[in-house]
């Protein structure tokens, strides 16, 4: 239904806008969480159950907490002295536009397989958990292992950074 899509899109956009426009950093983090949740509900509306629930589990449950911890453990929770807008906003705008262009090129390229706006519902791709699991363990096992390596490196790096601080302060 179109209404649900527009409502969720408005929610996501509102969350994203609030995340950059609010003054209090923790409020920004919470607004970002609302944007994440909006994306998750979009996934669920498209019947991608695994993607939607994984989005909630990972983004709302872990990444949002991580962002909040980072804000609290640094001094970002006080209201900023010299404004919330950065001085290099033009470069930021250019980079955001470039990323948006790449993403929309990828998305529009993949919709060639789906029927047009007036077409009959053709075989919509289903993505049950079993199919995702089979794909990850079969065709995409190399990217899976590389991502695992990346996560291990991040974990070890975090431990080393934390350990270094303790040894450095002694």
């Amino acid at each position: 239904m179109e209404m649900i899509f527009y409502g969720l899109a408005a929610l996501t956009l509102a969350g994203g806008l609030a995340a950059v426009l609010l003054k209090n950093t923790v409020h920004c983090a919470l607004a970002l969480t609302v944007a994440f949740a909006g994306l998750a509900f979009q996934f669920l509306e498209l019947d991608a159950q695994f993607a939607g629930f994984a989005q909630i589990l990972v983004y709302v449950g872990a990444v949002a907490i991580l962002v909040v911890f980072a804000i609290l453990l640094t001094r970002g929770s006080e209201t900023p002295m010299d404004g919330v807008f950065s001085r290099t906003w033009l470069a930021g705008l250019a980079i955001a536009a470039a990323v948006f262009a790449v993403l929309s090129w990828a998305v529009l390229g993949s919709t060639r397989a789906l029927p047009g706006p007036g077409g009959a519902p053709a075989a919509t791709p289903t993505a049950t958990v079993m199919q995702i699991g089979n794909a990850l363990m079969g065709r995409y096992v190399l990217p899976l292992e590389i991502v695992a390596l990346l996560l291990t490196a991040a974990l070890i790096g975090a431990v080393i950074v934390a350990m270094h601080e303790k040894a450095g302060s002694l």
Binding site: V26, L30, F50, V60, G61, A62, I65, L72, V129
Partner: protein, 391 residues
């Protein structure tokens, strides 16, 4: 007759929505089920609170509440009236919007978890293929509410309690998920209905519950530990430590908002007990094949209340863990054991039927537990316990 008693709630629901016009029936069915959940589980919460206060009292060699009603039965009613009529204090410098949203968010998220629990034969609210993932996704959102509560109170003790609580919940979420993955591996599905159906078989009159297998027993123990830590229950209740942090992240909440946190915590306990019974204790299946005539929902709810009694028992018995002990326990003991449990589960599956797999799997788990326990104790310079008595 017996099948009717088993399906009595389903039949009641069909009768009620049969009285409505056909176009309203699906929505009415969902609304009816949701209303039933919202009525039943807070009632169980009231019973649990009373059970806890009386039970803890008896464990501490005193009566619990016994003034309100015979044996204190009306105490939850008195508590409810008290929390409704207390003044609702919000600190002047607190962040009013977030302060208000935090308990509401907690209660909403906690009740959403009940949507996928199979409470009896044909008594699941939503049949999802990825039901377990939904439950864990919802459970992960409770941490956010705890953080919001602690931070918005503008109180150092609250913030400290909130940080500790969030760190604890994140640390124990990994063993929680990993111990459930073993169940998913054996069943081959994330759907809770299929997991219960796989355990609803009987050999020689004994059920196929996963807790009766070596990996299931280890998985259940680790799930129980992680669930106790996830709901901030003793012995993991340092974030809420009454003797240390005033009341942790809900220090600045009074009146009904405190009652909402309390409700959220206990309803969360009931919910995660429900998940534990579904995954390891067979959900709504009877313990013996001969007892199959007892309604399925009776078994589910009695298993949940048994889990509550174990929670209360743990609270009255074990001392509180210190924050660093708690985190060490999670990362250095429980998590490696859950990973080993995954390996043992795979071994169980591929060794095929027979007595060898029981021996091998039990031996690996017991050996790992003993070795890791001993090395951990040695590293912390703990020896055998010495008792000193007053002379």
């Amino acid at each position: 007759m017996i099948a009717n008693l088993d399906q009595i709630f389903v039949l009641l629901k069909q009768f009620v929505i049969g009285l409505l016009p056909a176009s309203w029936q699906p929505a009415a069915g969902v609304v009816l089920c949701v209303v039933a959940i919202i009525c039943v589980f807070p009632a169980l919460f009231a019973i649990t609170v009373l059970l806890e206060r009386k039970g803890l009292g008896r464990m501490q060699n005193r009566y619990g509440p016994n003034r309100v009603g015979i044996f204190g039965i009306l105490q939850p009613v008195a508590d409810g009236i008290k929390s409704l009529t207390k003044e609702d204090l919000v600190p002047l410098s607190a962040d009013a919007v977030v302060h208000f949203i935090a308990p509401v968010f907690l209660v909403v998220v906690v009740f959403m978890g009940y949507a996928v629990l199979p409470m009896g034969r044909n008594m699941t609210l939503v049949h999802l293929d990825a039901a377990l993932l939904f439950y864990f996704a919802i459970g992960a959102s409770t941490e956010l509410s705890v953080f919001m509560a602690g931070w918005s109170s503008r109180n150092k003790y609250s913030l400290l309690g909130a940080m500790r609580a969030v760190a604890q919940m994140i640390s124990y979420e990994v063993p929680l998920l990993m111990s459930s993955v073993a169940v998913v591996m054996i069943t081959g599905s994330l759907s809770l209905d299929k997991i219960v159906a796989a355990q609803n078989q009987y050999t020689w009159g004994l059920p196929h519950w996963y807790i009766f297998t070596p990996w299931g027993f280890a998985g259940f123990v680790m799930f129980a530990i992680a669930a106790t830590a996830e709901t901030n229950r003793s012995p993991f209740d340092l974030p809420e430590g009454e003797s240390e942090l005033v009341a942790g992240y809900f220090t600045e909440y009074s009146g009904f908002k405190f009652a909402e946190f309390f409700l959220g915590e206990y309803v969360g306990m009931l919910s995660i007990s429900g998940l534990g019974t579904t995954l390891f204790l067979g959900g709504w299946s009877a313990p013996l094949a001969v007892l199959g005539w007892v309604p399925s929902w009776f078994w589910f709810f009695s298993k949940i209340m048994l889990s509550m009694c174990v929670y209360i028992w743990l609270r009255g018995t074990l001392p509180r863990l210190r924050q660093d002990q708690l985190m060490n326990f999670a990362w250095k003991f429980v998590l490696p054991l859950t990973l080993l449990n995954l390996f043992v589960t795979a071994l169980w599956r591929f060794m095929g039927d027979g007595w060898e797999r029981w021996v091998v799997c039990s031996a690996i788990l017991v050996l790992a537990y003993v070795v890791m326990g001993r090395t951990g104790m040695h590293r912390d310079h703990l020896g055998a316990r010495r008792y000193r008595y007053a002379d």
